[in-house]
Symmetry: C2
Subunit: 225 residues, 2 copies
């Protein structure tokens, strides 16, 4: 029974990669650089975007993935950027991740020709989102210090699958037991040399660095192409 299950999943992944490539072609045709933004529930992805996308020097858009509701998209509406909500709640309990086909279904709602940088905010989850490419150029994961210093070891694929790890809520460090050296060593163990930023979306500390990093992505992509 296990063998059958694995086979089905592999077929699904292959279909996913085919559609991800089609998404990527559409993004390329429109000159859009795409970020897949992932984290556990409540790590602060949306608050970070509220902070980092304001005053961004490139034209950004956001695709919000959630099981249900449009709370996050509503919060971002104030930024006056194109924001599209994508709900995964069809079926029984809802999908715990975005896949390429879901993203593809949202593309007609996005003005790709008016966007340089598209942020796809994935469903809050540290496992499955890392397994499904959606056509992105880079992957960013956000981890909150409140989640604890053991997360890189417990969810290694997620920490390994990304190009940038943003450690958020550092304003809480004085009030919790979080050993930064231990966290950094564990991250290094699962993803040697990965780029890391320490930020507080609440106070704004470190967000300028993230904004600059995001703004440089479209140019970097042109150089690499």
């Amino acid at each position: 029974m296990h063998r059958v299950k694995v086979r089905v999943v592999e077929d699904a992944l292959d279909a996913n990669n085919t559609i991800a490539r089609a998404n990527r072609d559409d993004f390329d045709r429109n000159g859009v650089t795409v970020v897949n933004l992932m984290s556990a529930p409540g790590a602060g992805k949306t608050t970070l975007l509220e902070r980092a996308l304001g005053g961004l020097s490139v034209r950004a858009g956001v695709l919000e993935g959630d099981v249900q509701g449009s709370l996050d998209a509503d919060r971002l509406a104030g930024l006056h950027l194109p924001v599209v909500q994508l709900n995964t709640g069809n079926g029984f309990g809802g999908e715990c991740h975005l896949d390429a086909n879901m993203v593809r279904s949202a593309l007609p709602s996005l003005p790709l020709e008016d966007i340089d940088l598209l942020i796809i905010e994935n469903v809050g989850n540290l496992v499955c989102p890392a397994e499904f490419r959606v056509g992105e150029d880079v992957r960013i994961m956000v981890s909150s210090v409140a989640e604890g210093e053991d997360k890189p070891l417990k969810y290694p694929l997620m920490f390994r699958a990304c190009e940038l790890v943003v450690l958020n809520k550092i304003d809480l460090l004085p009030y919790i037991d979080f050993d930064m050296d231990k966290w950094a060593a564990r991250l290094e163990a699962v993803h040697p040399g990965v780029h890391t930023m320490l930020v507080s979306a609440r106070t704004g500390e470190g967000v300028d660095g993230l904004r600059d990093w995001l703004a440089a992505l479209p140019e970097r992509r042109l150089v690499e192409a």
Copy 2:
């Protein structure tokens, strides 16, 4: 293609429920009350167990579900209870939840005849764990105030599927923006009347209440049977 996908998932769920029932029969035969403990990554399930299971008046055991590693099981070893680690990392990125068959595979490693209360600590995830019964009597979910007050609306199935919602890390309330009334109203909207406890696993505040609630479960189960 969507229709096919839904059918496959329903078949899988049926198989899961069949095995969950078999697990339940084994638990019943041995007089074991079973708790399915769920939360997002880093909400504090293991720290809560470290606090609540010490000095518990019934004989407890723990089944630790993680994608990879045995960090949590190692932490609980100091409690001198039967602790079994169950890793879901087979296949590609690992399963994001426990299902009845995984739990069944661990049963031979557990001394069920010496346990009154078995805590199954699920994989940290607010979506899929709520969709898979494993043979439990009750479900507890833990949410951390650091995750924000919007979580009941964003992950309604999880908050609806449990009998007890434990709001953890209340020691952080002075340092974050968390509107308790708003959270409570949102929880009430998705799961009217659900029992709630406010605790801090770090300081111990409120943990006595959780310990008493857990200790009363085996007796309550006998009364209901």
